[in-house]
Subunit: 307 residues, 2 copies
């Protein structure tokens, strides 16, 4: 009912990173893409199948060195229900390989509708006497703009099923300040959102001191990351924006606590497209992803020491 | 590139309502549910197929009197990719029947990821030389917490393809005020969000004076609805919370302009489950839905006069 499973995995692998599985079709190497498109035609179904195979090979290459994967729902919805099926299958495969799985859906709604999202992504659905986990991820990113009504349904499932959520607080993009930095009685909105995360998570704090309610805080705002680490002692941070978006390891270090815990840093394109940057044989795309993941781990752990 | 198509339809039918297709499996009448579960077993697939049939019959019963449907994505994701396939098929069927289709996904993200959501829900995706519209709705609800970076990708597609978006401003739920009512220099956050909607939509204003960027404003806050109508003259409102959540037609009237336009009011459960409330034969569920839709139309238009 906290993020203990994820943090244990981070500690075991001494690696505070999550690999973002945001697979555009043009990230998939030509040879792999071609084999599926030749078989099924230039269809959404073929694209989705190619992406599943690609994800599998990336997961195989990372599962013993990276604790978690994060699936960006948008890149699956792009291929319609075929893509969503690939999302389901990828979640199942990654969990089978022992990885902690975060669905990055930034879902938000209220009451019964939020219960439906919760059942879909973290919980289960009963059809007659049969129970199914439609997606079955370990954690979900959510947007808290609608307040407690949108978060409560998630909390019950977090407790019952040992799941977690990450609430958007200070996002990594240039315009994140338009609303998030607005001052209310001298306190920026993102810090207010963070304060609510502490409240929402209060009765789910686990062995490492972190609750089941985490926060998204961008690597591109190192000052705010450091400020929020001090302000929100029980809130685990999911940190996007490393690398491609310009967030460096030195700045990210402020997001960790004195035990080198408290944050998990995402990298998507740099890992998925490492073979393009490396210029290696595209058949070695998974090897290149692994090399980049190791480089990133070493980069981050040169600034922090875990456990 | 505005909401002209939707408003023309509202004017034609003299009905400012949208029917929410939020179909839980237990809304589907026993006889229909049973026929699909008997055929395919107690599976997510059978549930999704039953819901599609149910949606079709509701759409058939409403399409000549109600201008639009709104599909709540959560109730489709509940059934995994099978449910998402039903969402796709329902969107296609409703458009075929001439209805304007809003996907209520409250999606939000930034940059390339928001482009992926946009392509999925409102735009198209190319696989080789073939182009597909994965979901192909007319409009999408979105959450603006991430600022302009999360909205810009939508705007280009709204312009190119004559689509629209509704941004969450003041939601209908009890805790909506936790963040949305916070005052920044005396102005509540929901009004700030509304001001941005005016800016985002500025170059897409159509024949009726409304842009392609609408706002979600709950029926349960009639004062704010009236206030925002005056403040945001080019922003069309999507108004949830009528009926079940307690919003009455008299209060909603403040959300309309002097021509009886400027808002579209949603009802989901009251229409979908009208047969239960009416206590009629469940085989007449679609007839009951139509009767409730007519009652709602008459209730709203007793306070406003369209066109």
């Amino acid at each position: 009912m906290s993020f203990d499973r994820l943090i244990a995995k981070i500690t075991e692998l001494k690696n505070p990173t999550v690999a973002g599985l945001d697979p555009k079709l043009d990230y998939v190497p030509e040879y792999l893409r071609k084999s599926f498109l030749d078989e099924d035609g230039e269809t959404l179904k073929a694209a989705a199948k190619a992406i599943f195979r690609y994800n599998q090979m990336i997961i195989d290459a990372l599962c013993d060195i990276v604790p978690a994967v994060k699936l960006q729902a948008a890149y699956y919805e792009m291929y319609g229900h075929h893509g969503v099926k690939t999302m389901e299958r990828t979640i199942r495969y990654a969990r089978l390989k022992g990885m902690y799985v975060i669905t990055d859906g930034k879902r938000n709604d209220i009451g019964a509708t939020m219960e439906a999202y919760t059942a879909a992504h973290l919980g289960s659905v009963c059809i007659g006497e049969c129970e199914y986990e439609p997606f079955g991820a370990d954690a979900l990113t959510v947007n808290g703009y609608l307040g407690t009504d949108g978060i409560s349904p998630l909390l019950s499932v977090c407790k019952e099923r040992d799941k977690g959520i990450f609430v958007l607080c200070k996002t990594s993009n240039p315009s994140s300040g338009e609303f998030q930095d607005l001052l209310i009685d001298g306190v920026p909105l993102y810090a207010r959102m963070g304060d609510q995360c502490e409240k929402w998570g209060a009765d789910t704090v686990g062995a490492y001191g972190y609750s089941a309610v985490g926060a998204v805080v961008g690597a591109t705002y190192p000052e705010q990351l450091t400020e929020l680490r001090a302000r929100l002692p029980h809130t685990l941070f999911l940190v996007p924006g490393y690398g491609a978006q310009g967030g460096g390891a030195a700045g990210i270090a402020g997001g960790f606590d004195k035990n080198g815990l408290g944050a998990i840093v995402n990298s998507s394109r740099a890992i998925l497209c490492a073979y393009k940057k490396e210029g290696c044989d595209e058949h070695d795309f998974a090897g290149a992803a692994r090399r980049e993941a190791l480089r990133m781990r070493d980069d981050l752990t040169s600034y922090i020491s875990i456990g």
